[in-house]
Amino acid sequence: MTIWEKMQKIDRRILYGILVVCVCIGLFFPSTIRTDPDPSSKSFYAAVQKLPKGSTIIVQTDWTNSTRGESLGHFENLMRLLMNGEHKFVFYSAADPAAPQVARTVLARIVAERKSQGLREYKVGEDYVDLGFFPNAEATNTSMGANLKAAWAGRKSKTPSGTEIDIFKTPVLANVNRIEDCQMMIVITASQSIDIAVQRLAQKIDITALVTGVVGPTVLPFYQSDQIKGVAVGLKGVYDIEYLMEYGIDDVKIEGQPYATAGKEGPVPKTEIGTRFSRGRQYYGTLHVALTLLILAVVMGNVAMFAARRRKGEKV
């Protein structure tokens, strides 16, 4: 048996072991990697950074720990961006009942992180409102577009003093009567809930998205037709946003070259305060290793196939 034939018969468990070892080793060497962020990630960053200070943002967080590898980084970056911009936001989920609890845990960690950095602590009922879970994304988004107050009627928010008040009496939603009164809707999702939001709300409010790699290709057509104003896709998207928070668009330069060149969105400054590089930087280097492994696997598998074919041809 030639080496190529042996390679074609390699046990899949060896491949699994190689993947685990490569990934584990990569995790111990996080590094800041120069990159060119995707145009859609730049559009997302620009759209959020250009919001007027103190805007009211709707965050639809439809992810759970099943897609933690990408969505957790997305959500952490988004919370940092919104808090740095002093924006008020409401968050809810319309896709998974576990999603609001997952978001609460992460939000609490980001609030604590900012407190440890001497930054203003975001408070529930004053700076943000937790709406919980709305089953049936189709009906929820349709109701929100038709009559936001009716769609969110009866929901209450805890205040810093521990009491509960109607969400429309909080400083977050006091001036909001319709969905058009909010400045942006941001959807973080691993499912088709972004499609549902765009179908029902894109004509009423600017929508941006943070999606996983699985959903990314089907969301990019919405970006191309301007139905969403920006989208960061997958783990690369997480790193792109952190990269842009650190270097801005056409802002920080090295030897005359900006770290990220401006496209149609124009220059956007970097984020001055708070954490920038975190989970994306930790995982991005390891992604290189994993992707290289996959490409090698595809190439070697095909080389082995061609070599085996050639050998058969010679025998005949």
Binding site: Q8, R12, L15, Y16, L19, I33, R34, T35, D36, P39, T64, N65, S66, T67, R68, G69, A98, Q101, V102, F134, P135, N136, A139, T140, T142, S143, A146, N147, K149, A150, A151, A153, K158, G162, T163, N177, R178, P217, T218, L220, P221, Q224, K236, Y239, Y284, G285, L287, H288, A290, L291, T292, L293, L294, I295, A297, V298, M300, G301, N302, M305
Partner: protein
Amino acid sequence: MNLFPMMLGQVVEESFWKRLPGPALYGFLVLGLLFGIGLCFALSRVPSNMRRWVIVSFTFLAGLPYVAAYLWPIPVAADFQTEIPRNGVESVGFFLNQAMDPVGTITNIIQGFLLGVGFYSLVRIHLTKVKRKQENWGFSIVLLTCFVLMAGFGLRDWQIRTFMDDTGALNVRDNWTFVNYAQDFLFEGLYQQMDSAMFSMIAFFILSAAYRAFRVRSVEATVMMASALILMLNLMGALTFAQGSAINELAGNTNNLFLLNFKINTFADWLRSTMQIPAIRAIDFGVGLGALAMGLRLWLGLEKGGVT
């Protein structure tokens, strides 16, 4: 139901349809329940040749509010909270707008009840396995035990947080009771991590499949692999930066800016916006047309075998 006082932001008072908590409400609740049971009883008496029409009618009436809300002229800039309709057409428009929320609520409630069928099925299957001591019935006991534990602790935790924690003390972990710890352990400690592990296993299968099965045997496979390879190369920032720097240097040395088009990320961006996005759009468009046709056929009861 008189919607106008609600639209004007006035306090909603008792009416025939709504009662303040008390004996009157509970009496009407029993009435409502009896009405529902009576409706179900009446439906059970429907002759077999009329059954299809009953289901089709329910389907049609359920979809009608959304179609009507989309097609009926509704004032574009109306504030449905504070304004009053000026004529009959606007009255219907306002009514349809107000109806969106109750219709959505009814959907959610019925879906909530429908989910119970799945649980009932799951419990029935595994209880039967245990009762008859079929193969691997021990695992069924494990499943049912975890089911009861999660449901029990979850509901009790919700009850404590909703009705017994006015001051928000449970937001601090030091104030947790055993029930809160148990719910957190089962949900955050076990369920969430296992959910993540299940999804991540696909990566191993992808690697194995890519090695064994991803073969360039036809033009289509070659095109697909080339597209995937270019996208994956573009995901690696280190590689694209290194290659881009080399191209920059070459372009600088030869004073030829045309070479900049051969950067991986430039080519990948071009491929994505020029070929990948329209191809995916075409796929989704085809699927979307099918969904529209299927939706119309289901709504109008034209689909043979459809819901019935």
